[in-house]
């Protein structure tokens, strides 16, 4: 039997938001493994990436389904949905990157291989810090948005932004290398450009989602 108080206390979306972040960042991590295997020229499967992306999707739908308009939350409903959407893009871009990777493995110049691995590590590092930032969210809620706890999130976000900037530079470097690699076929170069752009999108969306989180919790 549901008592009036039990009805009043609705299911909180915040725990699910954390689970969604965990799924999204696990997708990035799996993509990282795929990229390493790809560069090493080993066999790889993108099944794990797809499975995790699907998991994130399901959590996203679940959160949306349990967010009726009559919900009183300490954050704005539209800010929360915007944040969720951006966070879901992290998983989406990870999956499409893995998909593109799996389609073609041309012969790569040694320098480009190294550049790809560096970009990959930067992406993984950004994702790790992003997840730490999400971990701070529960303290923010617990203290009803105390400045100190919000500042903890903002500091992590600054780190995410710094890593994103570094990833941008690595991305530009990889693009230059692809433009210089005239020995590669045109389609192979097009393919590698797509791969690098997509990896850049993953990092961009880690930053974007962090930015939306900040908007959601700032007051």
């Amino acid at each position: 039997m549901k008592t009036p108080i039990a009805r009043l206390l609705a299911r909180s979306p915040f725990r699910a938001l954390e689970q969604h972040a965990e799924a999204a960042c696990a997708t990035v991590e799996q993509l990282g493994r795929v990229v390493r295997a790809y560069v090493a020229g080993e066999e790889f499967s993108i099944a794990a990436v797809s499975r995790l992306e699907h998991e994130a999707d399901e959590i996203k739908s679940e959160i949306r389904a349990h967010l009726p308009s009559g919900l009183l939350m300490p954050v704005s409903r539209s800010d929360l949905l915007e944040f969720l959407w951006q966070q879901d893009e992290i998983a989406d871009y990870s999956q499409s990157t893995a998909k593109i990777l799996s389609l073609l493995r041309p012969e790569l110049p040694r320098e480009l291989e190294e550049s790809l691995l560096e970009l990959n590590e930067k992406m993984l590092q950004t994702s790790k810090v992003y997840l730490q930032m999400i971990g701070e969210l529960s303290d923010v809620l617990e203290t009803a948005f105390a400045k100190r706890q919000v500042d903890d999130v903002v500091q992590r976000l600054a780190e995410v932004n710094r890593l994103e900037h570094e990833a941008d530079e690595l991305e530009n470097h990889a693009i230059e290398l692809i433009y210089q690699a005239e020995e590669m076929g045109d389609f192979a170069r097009y393919h590698m450009l797509r791969v690098v752009f997509q990896m850049g999108e993953v990092v961009d969306h880690l930053e974007n989602a962090g930015g939306r989180l900040r908007i959601m919790i700032s007051r």
């Binding site: 039997m1 108080i5 039990a6 009043l8 206390l9 609705a10 909180s12 303290d139 203290t143």
Partner: protein, 336 residues
């Protein structure tokens, strides 16, 4: 009124059932925020609820009981036998209404049902002109005011804790603050149980006091104890199940939020108990929880509950009044 007659035993049984029902459902609901913050285990909450509710009923329950017994319907002019039939009709009407409404999952209030039933009985027994409409108006106004006061107090108390404690605590100190407030919640849960007893016991024994009390001499202590014990038995035999369900389903509340909600709701309830006004303890707790939510202290509240509660207000009083009037007329008509 002869004490050992079948009629008086039936009234006592109906009153006991109402008390049992209060303990099984309403009190469990009032304790929900303690269970929801995991500050208390179910058996601890049950024990506190049963004991402190009995204390509240025995020491502070007479004013509201007095209002329910003779404030709405001036019973002085009624013969004891008519009064007894009325009390039985009131209790059975309220009980039937509550069972039906709960079956449909409507958030109706026991208080509203009993007050409505008393008014319905009064209208047919002494005529609409002599029902104390002024008192009834004050009671209905208090139903609106009590959740608002509970909410306002809760908002301010939580905001004070937020600025004085939560804003200053370090990451490492946060679990300690939580532990302290979890302990404080034992006190606030006791306070809620006490307040509940002081106001809600009248729902069970108000009609009994009209029959067994002596007009204008206050409520006999044995009746207050009888009601309090009935509530305690209801909590002990069934209320713990309701609490268990609530504890499982409920979104976690932080101990600071739970503590703030409880002391605000209990204080608000006690003010109305001392004014002798029967209010809905559940609705007051709802008001307090919303107050915490408005102060950013709870992660998600379903505000549609408010609409359901307001809707339930509209039909509880007329339905319980009509049913009590009907039962009374039937009892008198068949020559009980």
């Amino acid at each position: 009124m002869e004490f050992w007659s079948p009629l008086s035993l039936a009234i006592l049984a109906a009153g006991f059932y109402m008390a049992w029902n209060l303990g099984a459902n309403d009190l469990a609901n009032a304790m929900a925020t303690s269970v929801g913050s995991r500050a208390l285990r179910i058996w601890q909450a049950t024990l506190i609820a049963a004991v402190l509710n009995l204390v509240g009923a025995a020491f502070y329950g007479s004013r509201v009981t007095h209002t329910v017994a003779q404030g709405i319907v001036p019973i002085g002019s009624l013969e004891p036998h008519i009064l007894a039939l009325g009390a039985l009709a009131v209790l059975l009407a309220a009980a039937t209404f509550l069972i039906t409404a709960t079956h449909w999952g409507l958030p109706v209030s026991t208080t509203h049902a009993i007050v409505g039933a008393m008014a319905g009985f009064g209208i047919v027994a002494i005529g609409p002109g002599r029902v104390a409409w002024g008192v009834l108006g004050k009671i209905v106004a208090s139903w609106l005011i009590s959740p608002l006061i509970g909410g306002l107090v809760a908002f301010f108390i939580y905001t004070i804790f937020r600025h004085l404690i939560l804003a200053r605590v370090s990451d490492a100190g946060l679990p300690q603050v939580e532990r302290v407030f979890a302990l404080l919640q034992i006190a606030s849960a006791s306070y809620v149980a006490f307040a509940h007893g002081s106001n809600d016991v009248a729902n069970a024994i108000g009609p009994l006091a009209a029959v067994f009390g002596f007009v204008d001499q206050g409520t006999p202590t044995w009746l207050l104890l009888f009601g309090g014990a009935g509530i305690a038995i209801g909590t002990g035999t069934w209320g713990y199940r309701v609490m268990r369900t609530v504890g499982r389903e409920i979104t976690r509340i932080t101990p600071v939020s739970g503590f703030s909600a409880e002391i605000s709701a209990a204080s608000s309830i006690l003010v109305f108990s001392s004014l002798g006004l029967p209010i809905s303890t559940t609705h007051t707790v709802v008001g307090a929880v919303i107050g915490i939510g408005l102060a950013s202290g709870i992660e998600a509240l379903n505000l549609r509950t408010i609409r359901n509660i307001l809707l339930s207000w509209l039909f509880t009083v007329p339905a319980a009044a009509g049913l009590a009037a009907l039962l009374f007329l039937v009892f008198r008509g068949v020559g009980l």
